[in-house]
C-alpha cells in the first residue's frame, strides 16, 4: 500500500533535501526497556524530551503502554559511541572456529562433555 503516497498524474512532487534542516526541538534520547526481571535492557527506539525525567515519562508512555517492561533507561543519543561496522572489524573471529565447542570431535563413549 501506499504509505508511499503516489504522485498524482500532472503533479510535480516537491523537491525535498533531507538532513539540511535545523531542529529547534528537544534533544533526542535512546530508550532501553527491561522486559522482565532477569533480562537485560534492550534498545527499543528513541524519544525527544527536554530533560531526563521527562524522557523517562515519555519513554514509558511511548514504549510500555501494554506492560512491555519493568524498567526503562534513557541515554542522550549523542552520548552513544558506536563501532565502525565494516566487515573487517568482526572478520577475524570467523577464522577462529576452534573457539567453538563443536570444533572438537569427542567420542560418544566419553559421555557428557
Amino acid at each position: 500500500m501506499s504509505y508511499d503516497v503516489p504522485v498524482a498524474p500532472g503533479d510535480t512532487p516537491a523537491e525535498v533535501q533531507f538532513g539540511g534542516g535545523v531542529d529547534h526541538g528537544f534533544p533526542l534520547w535512546e530508550v532501553f526497556v527491561r522486559a522482565k526481571r532477569g533480562l537485560s535492557h534492550t534498545h527499543v527506539g528513541s524519544i525527544h524530551a527536554s530533560d531526563a525525567e521527562t524522557a523517562i515519562q515519555n519513554a514509558r508512555d511511548g514504549y510500555t503502554r501494554r506492560a512491555e517492561g519493568v524498567s526503562v533507561w534513557v541515554v542522550p543519543s549523542k552520548e552513544i559511541v558506536a563501532s565502525d561496522d565494516a566487515e573487517s572489524m568482526f572478520e577475524p573471529f570467523e577464522h577462529k572456529p576452534y573457539r567453538h565447542p563443536t570444533f572438537y570431535d569427542i567420542p560418544k563413549e566419553v559421555g557428557q562433555l
Binding site: 527536554s50 503502554r65 501494554r66
Partner: protein, 314 residues
Amino acid sequence: MDARTEEERFNAIIDDDEKIEPRDWMPEAYRKTVIRQMAQHAHSEVIGMQPEANWIARAPTLLRKAILIAKVQDEAGHGLYLYSATETLGVSRGELQELLHTGKQKYSSIFNYPTLSWADIGAIGWLVDGAAIVNQIVLQGTSYGPYARAMVKICKEESFHARQGYSIMMTLADGSDSQKAMCQDAIDRWWWPSLMMFGPHDSESAHTAESMSWKIKRKTNDELRQMFVDQTVPQARYLGMTIPDPDLEFDEESGHWKIGEIDWEEFWSTIRGDGRLNRERIAHKVKAWEDGAWVREAATAYAVKHGMKLDKSA
C-alpha cells in the same frame, strides 16, 4: 580484508534477506525512498488521530470511550516509532514536521474522509486498520531494519484496533433497524476508500519495481489489496451487511473475490489535496503545534533552570 565495494556489500545484504542498518552504506535513492515512505507513514498515523478523536466525547458508553482514547493514543505512539525510525537516517523531527505542515510530504488520503456517525469508528477500526494491518504485516519483512522493527511493534497493537472496530460493527449489526442502517451506511462510505489505501494498480505504480527489488516493498499494491478483499468479504457477510460493489463476485477458478473498478479520479483528486478535509486536517495539526508552544517553552525553561538542558545537537 573486505575487498567488496560498498555497493556490492549492500546488494549482498539485500540478497541474503538481511536488514540494512542506519550506519550502513546505501544508495542515495534507497535512502530517499525509505525516508519518504517512513515519514509519510508516520504522518498518516498522526493525522489519523483526528477523524477518531472527533468521536471521543460522543462515544456511546464509558467503556467505548476508554477504548477509543487508548486507540488514539496508540496512533500517536505509532507515529512516534516511525518518526524515531526515520530519524536514524539523519533527518530531524522538526524537519519532518515542517514537510507535513507545508504539504511537501503527504499522508494517506484515507484520513481526508469525515467521520459522520459512531458507526464510522467501527468501520475505521475494521476496514481502515484492517487494510493497514495487511500492509504492515508484510512490511515487517522490509529491508530497512528500524522500519521493520517499528512494524513488528505496530502490528502487535493494530490487532486490538481492528477487533475493537469489528466489535462496534457487530453490536450495531445486532441492534435496531436504525443501528443496522447506520452500520451499512458506514460500510458504504468506507469500503472504496479502504481499497484505495493500497494505492494505484501495479501497472500505474511508478516506484513499485525499484522498491520491490530493494525489498522495501515485499508485495505489490494489487497483491495486498486482494489479500484484504479476500479476508474482509466473509467478515461483512457475517455481519449481514452488503459490500457496495455490484460487480463483486467469487472467482472459483482462482479462489479470490473479484472487485469492480475503483474510482481513480476520486483517489487522485484526494491526493492532490481536493479531498473533503485535506485543508482542515493540516490546519488543525498546525494549530495544535502552535497552541502547544508554551508547553515546550516551559519545559525548556524548567530544564535550563535545573541545569538539565542538553545541547540541542544531541
